[in-house]
Symmetry: C2
Subunit: 339 residues, 2 copies
DNA sequence: CTGAAAGCGCTTACAG
DNA sequence: CTGAAAGCGCTTACAG
């Protein structure tokens, strides 16, 4: 009738050592006889013993649990499909590294002024991967002096407990605009994302950089903000068209906005890329299915997730590896043409 | 120097009762004096005490943890964006119900013949929400007699521990085809999803049903399979076009495939919807941004996730609520026209 | 209705 | 290098 869960006790008994010794072997302590260690591991294998993480957490101060905070903006908008890939990538490698992944969402976990510190405690997390942080978020400031390991997507904060990961947004944006300039475009509209997103500043920089590198003056009336929504992009396109009849290209800070822009352009009687070239950002799966296939800047979302997990686990284990930058890639398809 | 974590002991001391009594009050046991209960709760509030879930799990047999298994097919294909919405919906309501959500993925958790039973134990789960189950999955059979609560997306299995949730796929498919028939189409191609997916059978039934309801003969050579990929859909379209020059409409079992189909049609010189109408399935966000805006069948993904969580929590608490069916909705946009 | 005590499966000083 | 023992924060029979 005994519960068939095998515990550290069973292993100890069969291996003929004490529970403490088994625990030490399992945790890779150095002060242990090689032979006993081997015997223990063979018993572990034979019995198929798996340590109970819950018990482990209760007695140690570590929990082997990592939180992933995703901004779900309460059903307002749908979510960027890249987020799912990041989540999966993160989950798979943190799992490989022996950590469990707990999903956190802004609506259900970070309500009215909750401190991150509190979430850490309540959810018993060793570390946290934060996606979609905006500079206006109430916990933005807290991150400057938080004492728990955090990895931030696309945002850089100066704190030894915090590391940053993301695509090189300046470079990505630069590549997009450079591609257009090299294709002969001179009047290039830019539809940027949410103004409180860190990435928006960087992508704007890339836009400026490309212009200055190629000695093209920047006209600020060519720059629009559209909050990363397709509706926003549609409106932005109309404003752009009104102000500049001679515009020949538009760079959008997301594929979703690019899609919205193309829709709007088509509706206004322009054809893409014959009349106006469009470049996106992200390289979501649909970018290569729609008509015209979208020229865009690829972010390797799975890799971002994967690296974020390694980065965070390292941080949890006391090693700060610094900021990880993923190279963006220009993918030329059919929505841009040389003029 | 005392650790400032407040425990059940602190509450007991201040309330002037024993630890056991506090525990009973917190767990809503009935055999407890109303007054003591109130006193305890006021102390709990005053101290801001939160029970430690880990300790709770260790001593009871329940863990208050729910697993979400998402099929990530190891980077082969990208994932359906609806999955993310389901995940968030599920997470938010299970969180509201006091359960924590642990993400599980097929590649990292269900490798080579692992039993679900084992995952349950290792991950210490009270229940599991399984998405993207295929009939060829190695754990498909195990589900017929599993003794742990599971909620399955889109698959029906007869076992009191298993409940099913999903859109009415027969109905959804029927609505799509009916819309085409009512618009005057008589030769309607059908590009179905993965042949081992349960939904594919149901969506095929819907296609048949609409034909028989409207006394239209079914021509099997109008039916193709494309594994839910856009490349597959592009090929399928070409085969369809070869066999049937007079085809006027195509129904695709996903928006992604519909997008691929439209691309292929455009490339072959057909215009959508002028020459050929196309209907999708899912209503992903991009369905309303692309040119032409996609007529499709909406699955309310967030609602599916939300309801799945309630269903699972009920199951965990011993109550089987039966199968939940979400109504699909026909969304008519610009990719179909009357002929 | 309430308390004392054992126990969940592990880790971690502390001796030796 | 190893063992005995206390303890992590809770729950749960068992008495009363």
């Amino acid at each position: 009738m005994k519960d068939k869960t095998i515990t550290i006790k069973d292993v100890a008994k069969i291996a003929g050592v004490s529970v403490s010794t088994v625990s030490r072997a399992l945790n890779n302590y150095s002060d242990i006889n090689q032979e006993t260690k081997e015997k223990i591991f063979s018993v572990v294998k034979e019995l198929g013993y798996k340590p109970n993480n819950i018990a482990r957490s209760l007695s140690s101060s570590r929990t082997f649990r990592l939180g992933m905070l995703v901004e779900d903006n309460e059903g307002t908008g749908r979510l960027n499909p890249l987020v799912l890939e990041m989540i999966i990538g993160f989950k798979n490698t943190s799992s490989k590294l022996g950590y469990e992944t707990v999903l956190l969402s802004t609506t259900s976990d970070i309500q009215r002024n909750e401190k991150l510190q509190k979430i850490f405690k309540e959810k018993q997390l060793d570390g946290m991967f934060i996606m979609g942080l905006k500079m206006t978020d109430q916990y933005y400031d807290e991150l400057s002096n938080i004492d728990k390991p955090c990895v931030l997507l696309d945002v850089n904060i100066n704190n030894p407990n915090v590391a940053c990961i993301g695509v090189d947004n300046v470079r990505g944006s630069f590549l997009a605009v450079e591609h257009l300039i090299k294709s002969g475009h001179k009047k290039i509209g830019f539809i940027n994302g949410h103004k409180d997103a860190y990435v928006s500043y960087e992508r704007l920089d890339g836009y400026f950089l490309a212009h200055s590198r190629y000695k093209l003056p920047v006209d600020n009336s060519l720059i629009e903000n559209a909050d990363f929504t397709d509706e926003g992009a549609q409106e932005a396109v109309k404003r752009l068209l009104q102000r500049h009849k001679d515009i020949t290209a538009i760079f959008c800070a997301s594929d979703l906005m690019a899609t919205g822009a193309i829709y709007s352009l088509t509706n206004c009687g322009y054809s893409v890329p014959e009349d106006i070239s469009v470049v996106g950002f992200d390289d979501i799966h649909l970018a290569e299915c729609i008509v015209p296939r979208l020229t865009t800047i690829r972010q390797d979302a799975k890799k971002i997730g994967t690296s974020a997990a390694s980065l965070l686990v390292n941080l949890v284990q006391g090693q700060h590896m610094g900021r990880i930058v993923i190279e963006p890639e220009l993918i030329v398809r059919e929505s841009t043409k040389r003029i």
